[in-house]
Point group: C2
Chain length 339, copies 2
DNA sequence: ACTGGTATTGAGAGCGCTCCCAACACGACT
DNA sequence: AGTCGTGTTGGGAGCGCTCTCAATACCAGT
């Protein structure tokens, strides 16, 4: 059976309270006693019972990562793996635990919300790239559960960390402009997501900054998935673009595939730039010129912001933090800059 | 503040015990009372406090997924995303929660083990593809923590679910043999992993079954990562194979890349088959002929086995379950069967 | 009316921990 | 010698829940 504080106390010849002090690094313990207690703890392999502790401290040392219903289908995108890796690393460093919730259950997201968030399991949550109007956000605000969004949000009460999608997209598009392209199309993400809107904004800014017209026949909405890239190409080709800025690597894979099927050469006939710099970007042929986002940082920063929120004294009123991380363009073969 | 049982009891005009019975579906409650209590619960949005409940039931309704240190570098492999998706779906269906632990921390896996597994946070754990000699397994056995392995294990006390790596690899190799190849090389996974050993065994079985020699110059060890595939090709080419069975899709991407660099055509000069059928298999050109494994099933089955283990009465002695799921060959372009 | 059985309910104890407060020892100061 | 402060320790209460057991109500059968 698992040991309790009481038993450790008996073994060390002190009281329950003293052992508790030792375990929690309370300075009010004589050094000699502290040593003795630690020795017993080490020898017995004692570990405090998490639930008992949580019951009184009202803290679980667990944070949740929520993949909202609206994006569970994107979960296999390596973006989420990398994000999770960053988040878990930061959690480990801070001795926090991570609970993963995909809101992908037939019971409905309301029921999951109740079960996961209202039962005091979690000290706080990180919400991964929700759509702008995800019903989750108002609920979290209403229940005053500490949370951080990965991806920006319009509500001023929301703390978030995002990558600079606008300037990333602008760079990717300007790169094509510099290469002499005039008819530059774009495949966007699902417009319900702010990241998709931002990348489209960056694309438009680049065109406008260089006096090029924004032509709606050169804009096709995708879904951040491969199939969306394929479908978008079919809609775009009649407008005869000479280059395409694709709003994600995964869609770019689809675009590449579709173009190949149509007999178009990349970058010879059509140049491509995209966004994310996932491992797949170098797996395809030609390798993708793409915008790198610091996904690992994104995860680590989200954890840091959340822990700040959790440890903030409840009366402290302060403005929610909003961080935007920089992006960078990685030039490879698909844009035709190197030939 | 969050409500307690006691408050609900007062509101419904019954005792704490009765509310507890209602919440836990105890049949010994008059229907009229049950209705009344449920109504109050619904109206107030009451949710039992998880820690308080855990403290007495000794159950947390949380299961852990552990990615051992030996494979954390593979975590971005979409295999893990798909596995996690299957696991979370099964968890949601069973009203369990999922705690994700990557043993990737500088504090060392011993410390994480203590922190995560000895504090009674978890009802049980799923260990994802450990190496054969991962020190985690004996510790879990010693501490009698219910656990299920994804991937087989030699110890007879271990419950696991695996895919049929041997017969999958045999199919992939035999397919090449049927296409007339005689000099078939293989790029293996890291030989510390049983799945890698099994896939190599399948490869050898296929050769032997068709009277072909097993030539060690045609066998190169990889690491299940892209770089390993690239490096393996350089070691393999001097032996002039006409076909290669690559033990994972991700490595196959590397192999494709390296062959292209060496000016070899796939499948013209060298035919390729691989293993996994991840999304990337259809992203590359030519698309990979590969062995599909039912990853989603793997995750769901692991959860099912674990829950069986958790709910088994402690005195029930029974033989650990070992399940092996079938694989299937998906023929695409890289093997040259379709031209 | 009395007995026994069954269905339903409430009260008390206790899970293992933290936190508050009182108790104590000890030295320093008046 | 008495008082105070400081450092250290132990005991009690209580977090919100479940579980056991006793109490009560009600019915049927005698």
């Amino acid at each position: 059976m698992a040991l309790t504080l009481e038993q450790i106390a008996k073994l060390a010849g002190v009281s329950r309270s003293t052992v508790s002090r030792v375990v929690n690094d309370d300075p009010n313990v004589r050094d000699e006693v502290r040593q003795r207690v630690w020795r017993v703890i080490r020898e017995t392999g004692y570990q405090p019972h998490a639930a008992a502790r949580s019951l009184v401290t009202r803290r679980t040392q667990i944070i949740g990562v929520i993949i909202p219903e609206s994006v569970t289908t994107l979960f296999t995108d390596p973006f989420f793996s990398l994000l999770l890796a960053g988040i878990t690393a930061a959690c480990n460093e801070n001795r926090y635990h991570l609970m993963l919730s995909l809101f992908n259950s037939p019971e409905g997201s309301d029921a999951i919300y109740q079960r996961v968030l209202r039962s005091a399991y979690l000290d706080g949550v990180i919400v991964a790239s929700a759509t702008g109007d995800d019903p989750l956000i108002p609920r979290l605000l209403r229940d005053s559960i500490p949370f951080v969004l990965v991806g920006r949000h319009l509500d001023k009460r929301v703390t978030y960390v995002d990558v600079d999608n606008v300037s990333g997209a602008r760079m990717a598009t300007e790169h094509l402009i510099r290469l002499g392209h005039k008819r530059i199309a774009t495949v966007t993400g699902p417009m319900s997501m702010l990241s998709a809107q931002d990348r489209l904004t960056g694309y438009k800014q680049a065109l406008e900054a260089h006096g090029l017209p924004v032509d709606s026949s050169l804009i096709a909405e995708g879904d951040y998935r491969e199939g969306g890239g394929i479908a978008a190409v079919r809609r775009l080709l009649p407008a005869s673009p000479t280059a395409i800025f694709v709003a994600s690597d995964v869609m770019a894979v689809g675009v590449l595939k579709a173009l190949r099927q149509e007999g178009r050469e990349v970058p010879g006939d059509i140049a491509i730039t995209s966004f994310d710099d996932l491992p797949v970007a170098t797996a395809v042929q030609p390798a993708l010129t793409t915008v790198r986002q610091p996904i690992d940082d994104l995860g680590r920063t989200a954890v840091q912001l959340l822990l700040d929120l959790i440890h903030r004294p409840p009366d402290a009123t302060s403005v929610p933090q909003r961080l935007v991380l920089p992006t960078e363009l990685v030039v490879r073969g698909s844009c035709g800059a190197r030939r």
